[in-house]
């Protein structure tokens, strides 16, 4: 393999070691623990009540809005990193460009704030 690949090889090796280590811990636990099956133990935990209605209820749209605002700012952060590496050499122009980018998205954040969408009831 050529020289540039060694970093990726290390990443994969670490991932494999992580997985194997976790598996090892679970195997040791499996050898040591008891196994007594009873029907009550297999029910879902609802603070002592009998569980009802399955596990699929409808949730409010609030979670989705947070996830979407997070996605948008995540993309912005992903663009901030290459800019942060090179903006020194490009003068005021790239500064203005990035400020326009941040400003537009900040406008969206302020709009979300004013419309009360960022409230977590």
């Amino acid at each position: 393999m050529n020289a540039g690949m060694t970093n990726y090889y290390y990443v994969v090796a670490f991932a494999i070691v992580g997985g194997v280590f976790g598996g090892l811990l679970l195997s040791v636990a499996r050898m040591l623990r008891p196994r007594k099956i009873s029907k009550t133990k297999l029910e879902a935990y609802e603070c002592g009540m009998e569980p009802f209605e399955g596990n699929w209820t409808q949730y409010s749209a609030r979670f989705y809005v947070f996830a979407l605002v997070f996605l948008i700012f995540d993309v912005e952060i992903a663009f901030l990193y290459p800019w942060g590496t090179v903006f020194r050499d490009f003068g005021v122009t790239s500064l203005i460009e990035m400020f326009v980018f941040i400003g537009v998205l900040l406008l969206g954040l302020v709009y979300a704030w004013k419309k009360g969408v960022l409230k977590w009831l």
Binding site: M1, N2, G4, M5, N7, Y8, V11, G54, W56, T57, Q58, Y59, S60, A61, R62, F63, Y64, V65, F66, A67, L68, V69, F70, L71, I72, D74, V75, E76, A78, F79, Y81, P82, W83, G84, T85, V86, F87, F90, S94, E97, V100, F101, V104, L105, L107, G108, Y111, A112, K115, V117
Partner: protein, 168 residues
């Protein structure tokens, strides 16, 4: 067969079978988690091409944000579409037409892609640090698409806020 080619074949197998599973499964949540795996494997393919920054960005945006969005969007649906597939109508009367359309599309793709000469060789790193290179390219040549991206994101943000507020 070098290690990189072997890795590429293995990753492609996982990606394609993952994509097939997403389309064919009846269990929505399994589809979401398989989507997560497929996107991570695509990030690994970017890694094979020495595009580290693209790989990390793919993981950050797809595994982090898009999975969140899809899971939360799924939770907004009613209990009729239960995870075990009960209640979803997975068949309608248009099997014949859809098969013909898909076959036609496949024919077009094969006609275009097969006669190409695909050069299969190992990618070598082009630049020392692709983050700096990418930054230079974006802010010198592609500044207009970059600003348009911000407007598109703003449009998406405002769209979601308007829609979510009406339901409350």
């Amino acid at each position: 067969m070098s290690g990189q080619l072997l890795a590429f074949w293995a990753l492609s197998f996982v990606i394609l079978s993952g994509a097939l599973y997403i389309v064919m499964t009846k269990n929505i949540m399994h589809a979401v988690f398989m989507h997560l795996l497929t996107m991570s494997m695509i990030a690994a393919v970017y890694g094979l091409l020495h595009a580290d920054f693209m790989a990390a960005m793919q993981v950050l945006i797809y595994a982090g944000a898009v999975t969140a969005m899809v899971v939360f969007a799924l939770m907004l649906t009613k209990s009729q579409s239960r995870p075990d597939g009960a209640g979803i109508a997975v068949d309608n009367q248009q099997r014949g037409a859809s098969f013909l359309t898909a076959a036609g599309f496949l024919a077009v793709v094969i006609y275009v892609l097969v006669p190409q000469k695909w050069a299969v060789h190992e990618a070598a790193p082009v630049v020392k640090s692709d983050v700096a290179a990418m930054g230079a390219i974006i802010f010198k040549s592609y500044i207009l698409p970059f600003e348009v991206i911000s407007v598109i994101l703003l449009a998406a943000l405002i769209g979601v806020i308007v829609l979510a507020r009406k339901e409350d």
